[in-house]
């Protein structure tokens, strides 16, 4: 992983679908928590059990969210691509990843520092509430998708 400085982060944040519609002030608060990260193909963006220090907004590339199952090896739960959001374990204690995140191709993310984000949300409850609504929507979608996969709709 190669973290770079957070200058020029604001326009990138503004363009990311997850943050669309946030005010200039809100984007600038988030820019304080942001840095660009890049990963080569097959790098791990996150590792289950490790401290969850970041939330990743995918700018380019694709990441497979996997879980290790002793008999089946790494099972891909889903893939998250450009415009997607990866990881919420930074939001709730004990702040540890539940899944592995494995770059399927060269990937760039906007990495938002979890600790700074929590502090920014506490300092500005409007921003915190707005972001929580957005994350809740992502949780809802993931839950929905997981149930759908469990239904195994294509099975005869």
């Amino acid at each position: 992983m190669t973290p770079t400085g957070n200058e020029a982060m604001e326009p990138m944040l503004e363009q990311h679908p997850f943050l669309r519609g946030l005010s200039k002030e809100q984007l600038s608060a988030l820019a304080q928590c942001a840095a660009l990260s890049s990963y080569d193909m097959d790098d791990y963006v996150m590792r289950a059990g490790q401290p969850a220090n970041h939330c990743h907004l995918i700018h380019k590339g694709q990441v497979a969210v996997t879980v290790h199952e002793p008999r089946r090896g790494h099972v891909v739960v889903q893939t998250v691509g450009e415009g997607g959001v990866l990881g919420w374990s930074w939001l709730v204690p004990p702040y540890r990843w539940c899944f592995d995140g494995h770059a399927l191709q060269a990937t760039e993310t906007i990495a938002l520092d979890g600790e700074k984000l929590r502090a920014a949300f506490d300092a500005d409850c409007c921003l915190g509430y707005e972001m929580l609504k957005r994350f809740t929507q992502v949780f809802g979608e993931r839950l929905h998708a997981a149930r759908f996969q469990l239904l195994d709709v294509y099975k005869n």
């Binding site: 497979a64 893939t79 415009g83 191709q105 998708a145 239904l151 294509y154």
Partner: protein, 297 residues
């Protein structure tokens, strides 16, 4: 737009072309010889058929189906999966699920089956002119959509973007791999494939097909969506299109119900006020919205 706006504009589909079941005798299967049986996936196969009397198969419109009769076993409704631009060979792609389709899977080149049709409404390829076209297919649902894709590619200049979103259970269940590669490779169609379960060396999308709708490149204000797959998948696909602002008038689905006569006589396929065999299988969402969330009618 009238409710039956998707009814075929092709002249009487089982026509004077000869060879196949005439619409004058729509209950009488015409004998067709299997030219080729091709395996598409472990449980899915395509039959290329030619009229046993050497005539041309009747013209069909994308989305229509035939009743295929396996002598001594039974009859099943199967959509036509071939190219409407090359009508001399009739193609059907079937998933072997039960008594008739499993017996049909064992047929080989030279064997004869009975064919009645084509029946039903078709995909709105005319209504889609000048618009983006978004196909959403789940599993075997790609087969009934394939003729519409062929039609759009044949008249590519009349349409804006063409997007295909396709979901299957695993990578080995993906149908028409060669065409998918070709369509995507021509830069004529944006093809996105996803699987529910990744296996082997798969490095593509994993997740449900409806999630692709959210980030795929089409104009919600000027598009037509054509959806075919398991009913639960189609319901969620409609929700995603509606969330993106696509008008219910521009969403079309292909429905399945058990069929017997396929000509609106027996009532076997009745679904609310509709007979799926003649008012469908392709319906405009606005016309069936009230039926989609009813679990027993």
């Amino acid at each position: 737009m009238p409710r039956n706006a998707t009814k075929p504009e092709v002249s009487s589909p089982a026509s004077a072309d000869g060879g196949a079941a005439s619409m004058a005798e729509p209950m009488l299967p015409a004998p067709y010889r299997i030219q080729r049986q091709r395996r598409e996936a472990h449980d899915t196969f395509t039959l290329d058929l030619a009229a046993a009397d050497g005539g041309r198969p009747p013209r069909f419109a994308p989305g229509q189906f035939n009743m295929l009769y396996l002598f001594g076993v039974g009859e099943v409704a199967i959509s036509i999966s071939g190219n409407p631009g090359t009508p001399e060979t009739l193609q059907h792609t079937t998933r072997a699920v039960g008594s008739v389709t499993k017996a049909m899977e064992k047929l080989r080149a030279g064997d004869v089956i009975g064919v009645r049709g084509p029946f039903g409404t078709h995909w709105p390829t005319d209504h889609a002119r000048g618009k983006d076209v978004v196909f959403v297919a789940g599993g075997i649902g790609l087969a009934p959509l394939r003729p519409a894709m062929y039609e759009i590619l044949r008249n590519r200049a009349h349409y804006n973007k063409a997007v295909l979103l396709y979901g299957t259970r695993t990578p080995s269940d993906i149908l028409f791999k060669r065409e998918l590669k070709q369509w995507g490779g021509n830069f004529d169609v944006d093809v996105y494939v996803t699987v529910d379960r990744a296996t082997g060396t798969w490095r593509g999308n994993v997740g449900v097909v409806t999630q692709l709708i959210r980030r795929s490149p089409f104009d919600p204000g000027n598009c037509v969506a054509m959806i075919c797959g398991p009913e639960v998948m189609m319901k969620y696909a409609v929700d995603e299109f509606r969330r993106r602002g696509v008008d219910s008038q521009d969403i079309f689905l292909s429905m399945e119900r058990n069929m017997k006569c396929a000509i609106g006589f027996c009532g076997h396929c009745q679904w609310g006020p509709n007979f799926v065999c003649k008012d469908g299988p392709v319906f405009r969402h606005t016309d069936i919205e009230h039926l989609l969330n009813v679990w027993e009618i």
